[in-house]
């Protein structure tokens, strides 16, 4: 098991927390909680050793937009590919920022 912590600049925290995925083969679990204003953190636990650089590249790209919602992510990974990582994080952010009518909030 390998752990990894990353830190990014961000916009405002989203209104609620969200969960996406399960710790199953080729999948991962993302726990999203509203972060501090202006800062996103990502804590990763993964069953796969030696892929720290890939994780950093994938997460860097997701959080490259400094106006993205400020979130505290906790990731429990069981061998997800980068595409699945992006998908699950996008699902969690979508749930956390969606307005009551199911649309994305305009500042998200």
């Amino acid at each position: 098991m390998q752990t990894l912590s990353l830190d990014y600049k961000a916009g405002k925290p989203p209104p609620r927390r969200a969960l996406a995925g399960v710790v199953g083969s080729g999948d991962l679990e993302v726990l999203l909680e509203p972060g501090e204003n202006g800062r996103s953190t990502v804590a990763i636990k993964t069953s796969v050793e030696g892929v720290k650089d890939i994780w950093k590249a994938v997460i860097d790209r997701i959080f490259a937009d400094v106006s993205a919602p400020a979130v505290a992510l906790e990731i429990n990974d069981f061998g997800a590919t980068p595409a699945v990582v992006r998908l699950r994080i996008a699902q969690a952010i979508e749930q956390a920022t969606a307005t009551d009518d199911g649309q994305q909030a305009s500042d998200a």
Partner: protein
């Protein structure tokens, strides 16, 4: 199932445990107990360098199903094979024990158990087994007041100590894809040899342990398609039945007679097993 039915079908098996619960409960009635953000994870997996899941693979939710108060316990089959660890097991046992208290206080809550599990989590050994024993005791206690509904839908099946929990339920619902048995195929092969049971022979495995066979031999009440609406409809019927009839396992004598009649040196085949069950049922009354 014809083509248009197949296209309209929404698979229950392909949903995660949490999504299954959301589909079963009446809209807006659900309240998850000890949810993922409580972060009650397995202390044992972490010690063995295995990634944990924030709910330890068990979703507990109170709510209503067609107006009936229920508590659903759903095991996530994708996480560690749906294995029962100390924490996940204790969550189910605790939920059932609370339901016993509620029933005793005149507020019946019907438990619905989604049992997609390979049994005890080997990494947690006795701690998981202890929790499974508590689950058994709580199911037996609950049956005096309410029906206890068990559901097995997916190919993970329901094995080990949790298959006993399934056997203790008053109403068991399965699909054709589901499997139910005390020992899983690989365990049988390892212990008794490949001549006895070839764990790679999938048609043979499903012919003996599969949902259709278990339904044909009267060990489960309902066989239904892998479809959210179909599964939910069967669960609605079961929770509304108020059925607290004695469990099939209380008919121990019928099972003992059947076991005594089986010749262990003859390889089991689906048809022969069905015939033996049928003969026993005609002779000494049904198993259910």
């Amino acid at each position: 199932m014809n083509t248009s039915e197949l296209l309209q079908r929404q698979s229950f098996v392909e949903l995660s445990a949490r999504a299954r619960v959301a589909q079963l409960l009446d809209g807006g009635s659900g309240r998850e107990l000890l949810g993922p953000f409580e972060r009650l994870t397995s202390p044992w997996l972490a010690l063995q360098d295995i990634v944990t899941q924030s709910d330890d693979g068990v979703v507990i939710s109170r709510g209503t199903v067609d107006g009936v108060d229920v508590v659903i316990a759903a095991i996530e089959p994708a996480f560690q094979g749906g294995s029962m660890g100390e924490v996940g097991g204790a969550k189910i046992a605790g939920a059932l024990e609370l339901a016993v208290e509620d029933a005793a206080n005149g507020k019946p809550v019907v438990p619905v158990l989604l049992l997609e599990t390979g049994g005890v989590r080997l990494q947690e050994a006795n701690c998981g087994l202890a929790a499974i024993a508590e689950i058994h005791a709580a199911i037996v206690a609950l049956r005096a007041w309410v029906p206890v509904v068990g559901v097995v839908t997916g190919p993970v099946g329901c094995f080990g100590g949790m298959s006993i929990a399934a056997g203790l339920c008053s109403h068991l619902i399965v699909t054709r894809e589901a499997r139910l048995g005390l020992n899983g195929p690989q365990v049988i092969e390892q212990e008794a040899g490949i001549e006895e049971f070839d764990s790679r022979d999938r048609p043979m495995i499903w012919s003996l342990l599969g949902g259709q066979q278990r339904h044909a031999t009267g060990l489960v009440e309902d066989l239904c398609d892998d479809d959210v609406r179909a599964v939910r409809a069967r669960i609605v019927e079961a929770v509304q039945s108020g059925d607290t009839a004695p469990a099939r396992i209380e008919n121990i004598q019928a099972f003992e007679t059947l076991l005594a009649a089986i010749e262990p040196d003859v390889l089991a085949e689906a048809d022969k097993v069905r015939a033996a069950f049928e003969q026993q049922a005609n002779h000494a009354g049904a198993f259910s």
